[in-house]
């Protein structure tokens, strides 16, 4: 399954690169950047396990989470024209950084553990922003075709993935669950499905972005 997911990640990032010049809205470029980072990280952690600096895997994951957060928040920041919402996004971003740094520095370790609590906060933020965008889309008074709205599909993908990932991180703290191979196997299946949906929807989002640029030209 991990190969399928990795393939979809590569495909999504390639799709992002292919439509780079025709990205509508241009803010989705940050998602392409995030996807490229994801491919590199996954390549490193999943396939290059023989490398000597494997011990830094968690450090890289922790640092990557900041990049990921930065990309998603930057994306939503550029999407929303309202100043009030932008302020909320900045506030959430700042809170996440502070929360993560505190958690990693004082309660966990940069090298040996992942900051699951602050990351759960980040998941909730993305769920909130995605739900908000989807709701706004539904409430729009004017004609708004969804087959040319990349943000709608990215938000849909983000919502599905982060919902499952939130639970995934929650069970990280339950030792009995983690120790039970069957439970982990069952949940991993769910996570894999969420991953597949997420990257497929992202690919579709890039396609809709391309369609919009063709329509505009």
């Amino acid at each position: 399954m991990k190969y399928v997911i990795f393939l979809l990640e590569v495909l999504a990032s390639l799709a992002g690169l292919l439509v780079w010049n025709r990205s509508r809205p241009q803010a989705i470029r940050v998602i392409t950047i995030m996807l490229l980072f994801t491919v590199l990280i996954e390549c490193y952690s999943q396939f290059l396990q023989f490398m000597p600096f494997l011990k830094y895997r968690l450090l890289i994951y922790n640092l990557f989470s900041f990049v990921e957060m930065g990309c998603w928040f930057c994306f939503y920041y550029r999407i929303y024209p309202s100043k009030a919402r932008r302020k909320v996004i900045l506030l959430l971003g700042a809170l996440y950084v502070i929360f993560s740094v505190v958690e990693l520095s004082f309660y966990r370790s940069w090298l040996f553990s992942f900051h699951t609590d602050s990351y759960r906060f980040y998941s909730l933020c993305i769920i909130f922003l995605a739900v908000l965008y989807l709701w706004d889309t539904m409430m729009k008074k004017e004609y708004h075709p969804l087959n040319t709205d990349a943000v709608f599909w990215l938000s849909a993908g983000g919502l599905i993935f982060q919902s499952v990932f939130f639970i995934h991180l929650s069970i990280f703290n339950i030792l009995s669950f983690r120790r039970d191979a069957a439970s982990v196997q069952a949940f991993n299946l769910l996570l894999d499905i969420a991953n597949i949906v997420y990257y497929t929807v992202i690919c579709f989002a890039f396609y809709t972005s391309y369609r919009l640029s063709v329509k505009d030209s």
Partner: protein, 286 residues
């Protein structure tokens, strides 16, 4: 998904604890809820888009109809003016010319005839002023619907062939200029049908200012036609003429229906061969 989960050995052997099952199902539930939310938004948005598209199409059709009505009213006005100039102004001026010629030939100035010439020229000038006024778009717009229709009725009565009566009930209310134009055009269409096809000696027109809509009824005692004839309800027939008049509705009637519905109102036509025709139109004020 559930089938996949059931394929797991832990599920089959009942190895998962209650807590673990709850967590798994919470994940599954959250995933399903997210999907349901997205699908709900997608369907709602698609329905709204369809509604907006339909509204836009109706708006465009309304604008097109408005433009058509304006052009038709303009054309009707030109026809009226041409007839007016030919029948009234032309006749009066010809009479004045004859009177002047008589005075020239008799080499005498008859004061009575001179007064008659003066009166005739004055009448012709007044008629021309009226015609000039009817060409002024602002004046047409500023007139109330009742005034505009009564002018139309006067014009028909002037011919002397058809007797047209106009009555009004209810408290007069203002209507948007666009709807006024469309209603005026519908009434003109009804009157034209009565004159051209029904051969009606009498037409009665009544305006009723109801609470939410303007109701207009045009009745005639002419030939009438079969409303239930095939194709009539669809309004697909060609303009009626000659013997077919009694069994067919024309494009005129189709226009009446289309215009009334695009203006947000309704129309109802009752007719029977040799029993005249009654057209009822209802157009809301807003």
């Amino acid at each position: 998904m559930l089938r996949l989960l059931h394929q797991l050995p832990a599920f089959r052997q009942g190895l998962l604890t209650v807590q673990q099952s709850v967590i798994l199902f919470a994940g599954l539930l959250l995933l399903l809820l997210s999907v349901i939310y997205i699908v709900f938004i997608y369907i709602a948005r698609s329905q709204q888009n369809r509604l907006i598209q339909r509204q836009t199409a109706m708006q465009e059709a309304f604008q097109k109809l408005l433009l058509e009505s304006r052009l038709e009213i303009q054309e009707q006005t030109f026809n009226n003016i041409s007839q007016e100039i030919h029948d009234n102004v032309g006749q009066i001026l010809s009479l004045a010319k004859v009177q002047v010629n008589i005075m020239k030939e008799t080499q005498s100035i008859d004061p009575e005839m001179l007064d008659a010439v003066k009166d005739n020229i004055g009448k012709a000038m007044a008629d021309l002023r009226d015609i000039a006024g009817s060409l002024n778009g602002d004046r047409i717009r500023s007139l109330s619907l009742y005034t505009t229709i009564s002018k139309e009725v006067d014009r028909i009565n002037k011919t002397g062939f058809i007797r047209t009566t106009l009555s009004t009930t209810g408290e007069e209310r203002e209507m948007s200029e666009q709807k006024k134009l469309i209603l005026l055009r519908i009434i003109q269409e009804c009157l034209q049908n009565c004159i051209k096809h029904a051969a009606a000696p009498e037409i009665s027109l009544s305006l009723h200012y109801a609470a939410s809509a303007m109701e207009v009824t045009v009745c005639d005692n002419g030939k009438g036609f079969n409303v239930d004839a095939p194709g009539t309800s669809l309004g697909l027939n060609t303009p009626f003429s000659g013997a077919d008049d009694t069994t067919r509705t024309g494009l005129g009637l189709l226009n009446i229906r289309t215009r009334a519905s695009l203006a947000g109102g309704s129309s109802h036509i009752e007719s029977a061969p040799n029993k005249g025709t009654r057209v009822h139109i209802s157009i809301p004020y807003d």
